[in-house]
């Protein structure tokens, strides 16, 4: 067996054997390595304020007001211009964030531990759809919701987790794949399984019934509640396979609305980037072509893990949302098999005789076949302050993989 094949086998073994468990909720500043005051983590590869897209700037402005660093979003923008806010990718701090992905020190985050390898990951709590911070909105309504999440939702869940103990995320994700989720744009079943699991513990906390009711209603109404846990779990699994010499497995795909970036197991510490494409979008009522922003979010970790669009035959409803057919869903799923080198054992696809989901995007296969990974995604408005405009499909830019291949040959060739 060649060095690359041996390394890839080792990386994939770690990814498949990983066991991410959600163990609680803590403030970002208390658990995320390197998090500090006046620092904001963001989705995507490294980026400066000057190059940030409008929606991500909107989320920065909202988070800065939420933190109390500025009284108004405009004041927050001036702080950022003066270099008074430090920015870093979520991914470089063991974290993930959907859409703009802005994570600030005072935000509560899920704490996920990979029980097999010991690595930890973190992700903030999902606010729902439409006019929310992660889509670049920063109005009073958005900030009031964030404050409510910190004053009621996070404290209730914190106490509930003390009663539930660690919760197996792979178990929930595997069941949800059999129930119509693909775990990126569709987390309906996973959300309900999670809520079902947590609800007795939430009631047992002894919190006021109205608080419990508000939190359960909020989580149940938002069918993307589990997305943050899908993402943190996937990062925990993929990170376990990162940093293996000679491995060509892609361990991160992510975007910040300006750049699309990937990381490769055998090339730790390096990002390979290209301009972020615009998603082919199915718009919510009231929005139209031309409103969409650039591809954005750490949620492409789901496709990196072989879920999301890579398993979209598990959720034909998602392809319908973006204008496709069930046959299109099957075609996407099969096409992605051409650029991956393994099958997961726990995640299986009922429609395809319970074959394992595709795993291990190989930069060699992407360049050789010309097939770019396909990603299901939420879509922001191109301007800050407005929010989400629809769902879409996007392809990871080939240039990222070509750059990675060149760097790989320079290092190992």
């Amino acid at each position: 067996m060649g060095k690359i094949e041996e390394a890839n086998e080792k990386a994939l073994k770690s990814i498949i054997e990983a066991k991410p468990m959600v163990i609680g909720i803590k403030k970002a500043k208390d658990v995320i390595p390197g998090m500090k005051e006046h620092m904001l983590l963001h989705a995507g590869p490294p980026i400066t304020w000057e190059r940030m897209c409008d929606p991500q700037r909107g989320a920065v402005m909202g988070a800065s007001v939420f933190e109390g660093w500025a009284d108004t979003p405009e004041e927050a923008a001036k702080m950022a211009e003066r270099g008074e806010i430090e920015f870093a990718p979520c991914h470089d701090h063991d974290s993930v964030g959907p859409m703009a992905g802005i994570t600030s020190p005072s935000m509560s985050v899920y704490v996920v531990k990979n029980e097999v390898h010991g690595n930890m990951t973190y992700c903030n709590l999902n606010e729902g759809l439409g006019k929310v911070l992660r889509y670049g909105a920063y109005s009073k309504e958005v900030l009031d919701r964030l404050r409510w999440m910190e004053s009621e939702m996070a404290p209730l869940l914190t106490e509930a987790f003390k009663r539930s103990g660690p919760i197996d995320l792979v178990g929930i994700m595997a069941k949800a794949l059999h129930m119509g989720d693909e775990l990126h744009c569709k987390n309906t079943a996973a959300t309900f399984i999670f809520l079902k699991t947590m609800s007795p513990h939430m009631v047992e906390t002894g919190f006021d019934g109205k608080i419990v009711s508000r939190v359960m209603e909020f989580m149940g109404r938002n069918e993307l509640t589990f997305l943050q846990l899908s993402m943190a779990a996937s990062k925990a699994m993929l990170d376990a396979g990162h940093g293996i010499d000679y491995s060509t497995v892609v361990t991160t795909m992510t975007r910040n609305g300006t750049d699309f970036g990937i990381r490769v197991s055998g090339l730790p510490g390096q990002w390979f980037t290209a301009p972020a494409p615009k998603p082919k979008t199915l718009f919510f009522p009231g929005f139209k072509e031309g409103d969409e922003g650039g591809d954005i979010g750490d949620s492409a970790i789901m496709e990196t893990m072989g879920l999301g669009n890579f398993a979209c035959i598990c959720a034909p409803a998602v392809v319908q949302v973006v204008g496709g057919t069930v046959k299109d869903a099957e075609n996407f799923t099969r096409e992605m098999r051409e650029i991956t080198i393994a099958r997961h054992k726990a995640f299986t696809i009922p429609y395809m005789n319970f074959e394992g989901t595709s795993l291990g995007i190989d930069i060699r296969k992407v360049v050789e076949t010309g097939i770019e990974p396909s990603i299901n995604t939420g879509v922001t408005h191109k301007k800050a302050g407005i929010g989400g405009v629809g769902f879409g499909l996007v392809r990871a830019p080939m240039d990222c993989f070509k750059k990675a291949l060149k760097a790989f040959v320079e290092k190992y060739g």
Partner: protein
């Protein structure tokens, strides 16, 4: 004169590569399938050379 063999009268066509040939055939009612073949690395010589180097590892 003998009739041509049936498979010559009713060809089954496998189209490899450029899809517009397949589209033209289907629009004329031909029995055809399309194979989405592309040259390795899209014909990019630099990338193909890099891939070849990795085969030696």
């Amino acid at each position: 004169m003998r009739e041509p063999a049936r498979f010559l009268r009713e060809p089954k066509i496998v189209n490899v590569g450029a899809k517009h040939f397949y589209d033209d055939l289907k629009s004329q009612g031909a029995d055809a399938v399309h194979v989405d073949w592309r040259p390795p690395a899209g014909g990019n010589r630099e990338m193909a050379d890099l891939l070849d180097k990795l085969k030696k590892l």
